[in-house]
């Protein structure tokens, strides 16, 4: 960072040492460590594969059943992302609507909380009655479970505009719409993008739950039928695929958040 005066002699050229960046490597090392511990633990305790398979056995299962695993993984990713995208659009729209006025916020917020308190699993049977089993209830469950955090975050961002900022703009003759567009919407964006990480994770919960009880495809369904065949390594293989998909989508959302709202990470919202 500092510019060196060429006249001053440099003490000693730093020896090129290979120095791994432990902080960057840490997640990988810890993950590998976890698998190793798991492997050793299962081998020492001698647990049968039908209770807890070793990771090597799980990877074997992944290779062995790759074709169905791949097909079902894509199906789950598809229902999850579709439900999530509907949740983003609906959540943004409803969030903006709720945050629009203090009165709407006060009136709808309790309803939203009540709705959110219902376990979404309980809605799956109703969705099945309406839409039959398969992709549609899975998408809808993913949507229902993930849109709430988006709504709440967007609405909160809007409803907590500093009164002074509002005063400055109102004194200039700003209409409600002006204030919302110039301040409210940009202000709620960090909340919105922050909520996407939570929402995508929940969307996976929704789609897998629905697939487990009401579908002929998807990882949830695959794991349920593997379980009824006592194919425990395949169940774990499904879990592993879910973890991979979940981490990938989470990382994507975190990246999007950082790209879109870099300013919010460097400034406090209070300013």
């Amino acid at each position: 960072m500092t510019t060196l005066d060429p006249a001053t002699p440099i003490a000693a050229a730093p020896r090129p040492v290979f120095k791994p960046n432990w902080v960057r490597l840490a997640p990988w090392l810890y993950t590998i460590g976890l698998f190793v511990l798991w492997e050793i633990g299962v081998r020492i305790s001698g647990l049968p594969h039908t209770i807890l398979p070793t990771p090597t056995r799980v990877f074997e299962a992944i290779i062995q059943y790759w074709s169905p695993i791949w097909k079902n993984s894509v199906q789950t990713l598809y229902t999850t992302v579709l439900g999530f995208m509907i949740a983003v659009v609906a959540g943004l729209g409803i969030g903006l609507f709720i945050g629009w006025s203090k009165a709407i916020y006060a009136g709808l917020y309790p309803i939203m909380v009540g709705f959110n308190a219902i376990p979404k699993v309980a809605l799956v049977p109703i969705l099945v009655i309406w839409f039959g089993i398969g992709t549609v209830p899975a998408v809808l469950t993913a949507f229902l479970i993930s849109f709430f955090p988006i709504v709440v975050n967007v609405a909160t961002g809007l409803a907590t505009i500093e009164p002074e900022t509002e005063d400055v703009l109102r004194a200039l003759g700003a209409k409600k719409l002006d204030i919302m567009l110039k301040v409210g919407v940009p202000r709620s964006m960090p909340y919105f993008f922050g909520s996407l990480k939570v929402a995508i994770t929940l969307a996976f919960v929704g789609s897998v739950v629905s697939e487990t009880v009401a579908s002929n495809s998807g990882l949830g369904n695959m794991m349920a039928s593997a379980q009824s065949n006592f194919n425990v390594p395949l169940v774990f293989a499904g879990l592993l695929m879910l973890a991979v998909e979940g981490i990938a989508m989470y990382a994507l959302m975190a990246w999007v958040e950082k790209r879109m709202t870099g300013w919010a990470h460097r400034s406090t919202m209070a300013n």
Partner: protein, 262 residues
């Protein structure tokens, strides 16, 4: 010439008929081009006076008349600056300063076509307050004092006839504050804008204003008006002269009495 602002017998109560009576029997006239400082005990209704004048609040009784029209909605000839700079962190300083132009009726339709002209104007203002070249920085990259300067620019960009400053220098150190006093003083001298300044700093009020208005404790009303006799342009040396300190002293004891009277 009729005064630019005329507040006549105004009562303002917050929060319904049983709420806090913030100001009562408030009377004040402000002439065009005048620099008025408002001082008084904390919570006496100074900020309320500002909001009444700008039309952010409408009084329950009495009348507020600005530019010969009774105020019934926010008046758009004002620029406001508060103690808290309220810069929007996702906009650069320059974009923050241009924000009022996107809102004020008279400018918003011209903004796109005349962007360069407005940007030049904003940059000139930045230069005036000593922030030349900082337009591209984000507000959170500026110090508190710099943000407050930018805040002043934002209040001035649409050439308001009336500039309302509510303790704008409260959070600044003594040196920055004195520097900004000079900035305000020069702006007032150069542009002939009418300025209302709410402050807790009596030296600030005497140094800057043509007239210092003292308010009573809540419910606030004007208990006295003091014309400031010192000739303009005033230099910072004035702060150390005897007549200046005598006047500050007099104001101080008056407010102390007003506080006790409550």
């Amino acid at each position: 010439m009729t005064p630019l602002v005329s507040i006549e017998n105004v009562d303002m109560r917050y929060g319904g008929p049983t709420g806090t009576l913030a100001v009562s029997g408030l009377n004040l006239k402000i002439n065009r081009g005048e620099f008025v400082a408002v001082v008084g005990p904390s919570g006496c209704g100074k900020s309320t006076l500002m909001k009444l004048t700008t039309g952010l609040h409408i009084p329950q009784s009495g009348a507020v008349i600005v530019a010969d029209a009774k105020v019934t909605k926010p008046v758009s000839i004002v620029g406001m600056a508060f103690q808290n700079p309220t810069m929007l962190p996702w906009r650069t300083t320059l974009e923050n300063i241009l924000l009022p132009l996107e809102i004020v009726e008279r400018h918003r339709h011209r903004l796109r076509a005349n962007k360069a002209e407005y940007v030049a104007k904003a940059e000139k203002l930045l230069e005036t307050v000593g922030l030349k070249g900082f337009g591209e920085k984000f507000p959170w990259q500026l110090s508190g004092g710099m943000q407050q300067r930018a805040n002043l620019c934002r209040a001035l960009i649409h050439e308001p006839e009336l500039l309302m400053l509510d303790e704008p220098f409260g959070a600044l150190d003594a040196f920055t504050r004195e520097e900004l006093w000079c900035v305000i003083r020069d702006l007032h001298a150069a542009q002939g804008v009418t300025i209302v300044l709410v402050t807790h700093d009596l030296r600030e009020s005497v140094f800057l204003a043509d007239k210092v208005v003292v308010m009573s404790a809540r419910p606030g009303r004007v208990i006295s008006e003091h014309p400031v006799p010192f000739a303009r342009p005033r230099q910072l040396d004035l702060l150390y002269e005897q007549p200046f300190n005598d006047m500050v002293q007099k104001l101080h004891s008056e407010i102390a009495t007003a506080r006790v009277a409550a």
